[in-house]
């Protein structure tokens, strides 16, 4: 489970087109005292938020109302922001270049997402 406080104060971008899922994520992150950037549901809004400074990590839904969020992933990668895919896609539906990205399959339990984020941030902290 989450190490106490690791997410506290961290700025987490959430891009997810399904309201209920986005809302669950926001609540869960809020409970961990993380700062939620977003959530937003569209590719355009996601790309815009990805340019913001101070984002520590991101949760990305791969399919946004039919658009792929991979462009956001590319932008975040270029800026050195780690991210996790939250997706209903099997591995094979993702291009090879993204196979190494951590994934949380839908439907998910909230602790699974928090765990994934926690590990992502932990590996960032290591020099």
């Amino acid at each position: 489970m989450t190490m106490p406080g690791r997410l506290a104060g961290r700025r987490i971008l959430v891009v997810e087109d399904e309201y209920f899922i986005a809302s669950d994520l926001r609540r869960a992150l809020g409970a961990e005292q993380a700062v939620v950037i977003g959530p937003v549901s569209s590719l355009a809004a996601g790309l815009e938020l990805a340019e913001r400074d101070g984002i520590d990590a991101a949760l990305l839904d791969v399919n946004l109302e039919g658009d792929s969020s991979l462009a956001i992933a590319d932008r975040l990668a270029a800026r050195g922001v780690p991210f996790v895919f939250v997706t209903g896609y099997d591995d094979w539906a993702l291009p090879d270049a993204y196979r190494h990205v951590r994934r949380v399959p839908k439907p998910f339990a909230v602790p699974t997402v928090l765990d994934a984020l926690d590990q992502l941030l932990a590996s960032e902290e290591r020099p």
């Binding site: 087109d17 209920f20 809302s23 959530p39 549901s41 399919n63 209903g88 896609y89 099997d90 539906a93």
Partner: protein, 518 residues
């Protein structure tokens, strides 16, 4: 040719006839090259035979071995004219077939030698002429031989003064030439038929086919390569076709062909080829060596099949499966969230079960209706009536529904359906359908804003409802759905008021330009 000249005059006459026969043979072989049909060639032969014998008309026929009857190949021009003069109703140009072998011409065929009957009208073996046939005074027949067997005959009729031995001799000299001309015409036509059939076959096969020489340089194709790439055989030859292969695959294709030519083995390679109108088509290319009896490669035959559509279908299927998976998992996640929110309301287990079932059913209805038509759109009025019906409300004086036809985009159906479900359930439990004298009006219209984007404006107005406390749980989920989820997911602007007289809700929902509507 029999030549027994008695004097100088007849020697000259004999030479002239011999010359005429040679000229005639020359004419026959010359015409054989250009005659469009066997019948046309037959008419040329008969014309020559008439010219050298002085006959008034003639015919030519061959034996049908299967039925032992005579099929005429041709009747001469003069013959047809004579038929017309005799007021024959014989259709011109249609030569008779299946004639019994008998009478004077029968004797020529049976005996296999040339015969003259200058008493044709009275000869004991005559069978008479058929109706419409010009009267026959004299007759000369010569058999046509091939490989020692009689295959047919030429019959000449009505030489003024009767036929002479030299006429028979001339006709007999023409006969082998006629046989030869007919044979080569037949062979040529058969070849043309098979060539034509081969050409048609190549054009019919929905694939690119070609023949290429031993060195893989000169290409002859069935034109389908040209149809797709715009490249002529000449341009494709000498490696020209390689220029159309997608640059990223040119190396692979070159290597495969080089290997095949070196080893004399078949080659199969898949690659993209540039089309005439731009873009690439995926082709499956095969080429095999053709060997002679000694096993030496004489040339290569190749075929290419366009597999672009197949690849497209495979890709589409892959996308569909991925999309289906995405949707299934998404809806399960939504169901999980709806369940969590329903439980959070803190109601009794019965109420939770009741509310959850209602919401689950509403989700299920929207899933079904969104898959009913190909575009995935759903008629707004149907969606509203379905939800009202699900809580037991149908037409009545307390209900009015009015608005133009609107095809809701597939993506909006789920949430809007849930929203209407929440409003309808609330109206049944606490609002317009619970209070005597309460009424509900649902109206909508489609408006175009300043940027010419279409927008649905939906109004849900309850009246005549005494103010009652609103259930916290219902307010929780329904309110969140309308005030948060619709704006978040659909970009809608919403307003929900619980006020004296009943609930009032407005939803302004952007419709994409492609969707059909009022």
């Amino acid at each position: 040719m029999r030549m027994e000249p008695r004097d100088e005059t007849s020697l000259l006459a004999t030479l002239a006839r011999k010359n005429a026969v040679l000229e005639g043979i020359n004419r026959i072989f010359h015409e054989a090259l250009t005659a469009p049909s066997l019948e046309a060639l037959g008419r040329v032969c008969l014309r020559v035979a008439e010219d050298v014998t002085g006959a008034a008309f003639s015919f030519m026929g061959e034996i049908d071995r299967a039925t032992d009857t005579l099929d005429e190949i041709a009747i001469s021009e003069r013959g047809w004219t004579a038929f017309e003069a005799a007021k024959s109703d014989w259709p011109r140009g249609k030569v008779p077939t299946g004639l019994t072998i008998h009478g004077l011409y029968g004797r020529v065929l049976r005996e296999g030698r040339g015969l003259i009957f200058n008493d044709a009208a009275t000869h004991a073996d005559r069978i008479g002429t058929p109706a419409g046939h010009p009267p026959l005074a004299s007759f000369l027949g010569v058999p046509l031989h091939q490989n020692g067997a009689v295959i047919g005959m030429v019959g000449l009729g009505n030489r003024p003064g009767g036929f002479r031995d030299e006429d028979l001799a001339a006709a007999e000299e023409l006969a082998p030439a006629i046989v030869q001309a007919l044979r080569s015409k037949r062979a040529e036509m058969a070849l043309r038929d098979s060539e034509e059939q081969r050409r048609l076959t190549l054009e019919l096969v929905p694939a690119m086919l070609w023949r290429v020489d031993l060195n893989g340089l000169r290409i002859e194709s069935n034109q389908q390569w040209h149809a797709i790439t715009g490249q002529t055989d000449e341009q494709a030859s000498a490696g020209g076709w390689m220029e159309l292969i997608h640059p990223s695959e040119a190396g692979k294709v070159t290597r495969a062909f080089r290997r095949a030519y070196a080893a004399g083995e078949p080659v199969t390679v898949q690659c993209r080829v540039r089309q005439a109108e731009g873009g690439y088509r995926a082709l499956l290319i095969r080429q095999v060596p053709v060997r002679d009896d000694a096993g030496q490669i004489t040339h290569w035959l190749g075929a290419a099949t366009d597999i672009s559509d197949m690849q497209l279908l495979e890709e589409r299927q892959r996308v569909l499966v991925a999309e289906l998976q995405h949707r299934v998992r998404n809806i399960l996640t939504v169901v999980r969230s709806v369940f969590a929110r329903t439980v959070e309301g803190g109601e009794s287990l019965d109420d939770v079960a009741d509310h959850f079932r209602g919401r689950l059913d509403a989700l299920a209805r929207t899933q079904v209706s969104a898959t009913l038509n190909a575009s995935g759109t759903v008629d707004l009025e149907n969606l509203i009536r379905d939800e009202l019906l699900s809580v037991g409300v149908s037409d009545g004086p307390e209900l009015s529904i009015a608005g133009p036809d609107v095809a809701l985009p597939a993506g909006a159906v789920e949430l809007l359906g849930l929203a209407v479900h929440e409003l309808a359930t609330n109206a049944l439990k606490f609002g317009a359908f619970r209070s005597p004298g309460g009424s509900l009006s649902i109206t909508w219209d489609v408006n175009v804003d300043g940027r010419s984007a279409r927008r649905l404006d939906l109004r849900w107005t309850e009246q005549g409802v005494p103010a009652v406390p609103v259930g916290a749980a219902r307010q929780g989920f329904g309110t969140e759905l309308i005030e948060e989820a619709l704006p978040y997911r659909l970009g809608a602007e919403t307003r929900l008021e619980f006020r004296g007289g009943g609930v009032r809700c407005t939803i302004a929902l952007p419709l994409s330009g492609d969707e059909e509507g009022a």
